[in-house]
Symmetry: C2
Amino acid sequence: MTLSGTSLIGFGRASENKDFFFASSPATGAELEPRFNSATSAEVDKAVTLAAQAFPIYSYVSPAARADFLKLTATKIETAQDQLIERANLESALPLPRLRGEIARTCGQLRLFAQVVEEGSWTSPRIDHADPSRKPLPKPDVRSMLRPLGPVVVFGASNFPFAFSVAGGDTASALAVGNPVIVKAHPAHPGTSELVALAIQESVVESGFPEGVFSLLFDSGIRVGAELVQHKLVKAAAFTGSLIAGRALFNLAVNRPEPIPFYGELSSTNPLFVLPRALANFTEKIAGDLFGSFTLGAGQFCTKPGLVFLNEGQSAEQFAAFLQNKVQAATPFTLLTKGIGGAYRKELKARLGKPGLHKLAQGTPGNEGLLTCVSAAVFQTDVSSLLQNVDLAEEHFGPSTLLIAYKQKQEVLDCARNLHGQLTATVHATPEDLQEYAELIPILETKVGRIVFNAYPTGVEVCHAMVHGGPYPATTDSRTTSVGTLAINRFARPLCYQDCPHSALPPELQEDNPLGVWRLVDGEFTKRKA
Amino acid sequence: MTLSGTSLIGFGRASENKDFFFASSPATGAELEPRFNSATSAEVDKAVTLAAQAFPIYSYVSPAARADFLKLTATKIETAQDQLIERANLESALPLPRLRGEIARTCGQLRLFAQVVEEGSWTSPRIDHADPSRKPLPKPDVRSMLRPLGPVVVFGASNFPFAFSVAGGDTASALAVGNPVIVKAHPAHPGTSELVALAIQESVVESGFPEGVFSLLFDSGIRVGAELVQHKLVKAAAFTGSLIAGRALFNLAVNRPEPIPFYGELSSTNPLFVLPRALANFTEKIAGDLFGSFTLGAGQFCTKPGLVFLNEGQSAEQFAAFLQNKVQAATPFTLLTKGIGGAYRKELKARLGKPGLHKLAQGTPGNEGLLTCVSAAVFQTDVSSLLQNVDLAEEHFGPSTLLIAYKQKQEVLDCARNLHGQLTATVHATPEDLQEYAELIPILETKVGRIVFNAYPTGVEVCHAMVHGGPYPATTDSRTTSVGTLAINRFARPLCYQDCPHSALPPELQEDNPLGVWRLVDGEFTKRKA
């Protein structure tokens, strides 16, 4: 497949224009061919209009056909994977095994959503039978199930060129429900985006679906994204990225004449609590694994542990010393973009001037002339500095973390209570630790989407029970998740039929349950005929 | 019980102050004793602070204890019902049988949510077991379930002094989940609100729960409501009322530093489509029942059918003539408040000047000196006038409706496509009509929360399958419902535990399923042990 650098508008292509950009190699700083043309406002409108035209057709496609479409897309991505990995490596500098794993994850996600759609119970059918003899008024027959929302906009993320981008979890879940999707490609990996989009486009064609089911739009700036979330035919949007960009888009989405759901996954520091006995028993093991976790993907995971609480004492000192050595010995890391590299460096410098904060160690300096080339760092502060300046607990995207030594249990509980919303919190603890710190878990339960025990938050399992979400600013909507099968519910709403003639009911709500799904019939969960 | 006219802040009372108001009798216009004191800003803060302090306790109360609390509240309301009905009748002029029915509905709702909480499957527990041998990485143990959000603000509605007010569906569902609730009383029925609040307060005391679980605040204006939705410790809000007030509160909620879910049920015209054969076969029956429906509760139901589509011809003329007679013969109606009465009269006048719109009939004039005393009205327009001025399809709260005669099927489909979001749409149709108008239903499915067949949208059944919701401006969040058991999900978010020691897991997620709830275990719905 050859890259054209133009947006995919349904089955067609946008034209080249004066507003274009290039991807750049994070490893060398060099521009990468070809040039990518930003979609014009008319092209944005055309993509959304096609999506709205496709909706009345695609939203009634059978679950089996939607599932086949998702599986076909996975197969096409796998078929193209050598070219995909090569281009993604150029654009992201992420290592080949990681990219190969991410493609496997992406295709696994598509197939998992296909399975959920085929099984069908996610639509939550509910049936309450009529009771004509009820007094004082007869009871009507009432049935409801989840239905798609309409055209959905997905923003590709910089840090996962496959799993949170063009055919990532947001796209897979929105398509699974029956919503057309318009993806705004992340400008850091437009070539990868185009290649994945071509696979989806082919699947739409081969499935016989209308062209508006999928479009991909390029833009190096914010215009296209802003136009998309404000377009009156767009019914929801999903975004993974920075707090500033995400909040700006959220504001546009909720301040529209007709507000729409905006699922933003924005910012998380993912505190890790190493409780006393765990710290004493596994000092170096935890420190070593923590190093692996906060530098994984060059520290560019949403779930990177960026805040580590340790109780003061000899073990904490050993822990810090061990981490210090690991960091000092670390070779430089290549970040995804000049923007991320610049922000990481800026915060490294800024931290040197913050009261109560000091740098424990920094890794081998890299090529200073290359913004993307940075060294790992570990900082340390104390409870009172953190409580006086909660900004210290804000996300620092890249391979750095911050240790906080506390004296008494009450101090760490105070810190936990003062945290902003987080995707995750992690607790390293022995059973005795958990007993002693029993108050900690209920506090964390109000702060995060996921609590991890004696492990690390990076590596988000794609499964039914996963919650990759959490209170603001971790996400703009804590009622949901962007990873795992529960993510499908984001793009659906319940629709109710009262006294509907049987022939007009969707299969999920028909008396004899032809699809064999789980339903709530007169208050009882059952797969039986109603 | 004697009315004190002061807000209930936890177990205490607010003091009297200079900012007070009186309820007024819609039937006579007279002020009703006692005076009600608006809560001060400090009292708003105290109520929310108490709620936030109660949250860590109340959110861990057992499902059985929460269910008992809801049932106790229902019993207390029933015990007080004579006094409640007497006061509500004074404040709302709603007839006694209606109020008695509404109390039954309110207590039924409390008991239904108690049942849902006791049964426990609403928490949607999900368990994915570990697989330590999985390659390339071991699979962790991941479990998740729904947990409460935190303090919830509920705005009492004017049109249902019980079922959508202090102990109405919003309060019942928020309390059922484990969230403390602060109710802003509707100023039209403060005495009714105080009496119901006293019943809840007693239940909180007798249940041994902390006082912050419930507070009731008075205010004749918008200050207290605005302070509540902006308070940083408030985590969600629910509102039933006007588009202008609801959108203003929604804007405050989503533009906070930490945005919160705001469930506003705002405005709906509830189109009713009488298709040709149904119109010809049941002309007078449908016209008569429609009259009953659009004047029920003096036309002050959110689901009042305010827009009626008929195909031109003899049957439509008969239909209109029949309705004309019914309306002309109708005695005056008493609306809930001077504000509602004034707005109804203003729109009656405004409609006389709108091009393409004419008044078919108006009922017996009432006491012109009493703003709340109004007469029913039926208007008529045509398709092109409606398409040129969609404002005609906006909600007109009170006993009025609008007939639209169309010539061809395509015209009514165009009208349907141009409708704003609605709570309901109603279709009167024979099987042949449904075949001929097959395109209509899919259009309505994108516009509404509930489609009613051969019946009327007023009368919203409280059951599992009900959806009282719909696209904006029907509600601010179409992904949910404010009536029926699904409403409980509005006040919860998923929380995930990874590799959690078994002793630290909530009962819903423990291996042996001690509560016997339905769970999704490794992708299978089951009540068995995991």
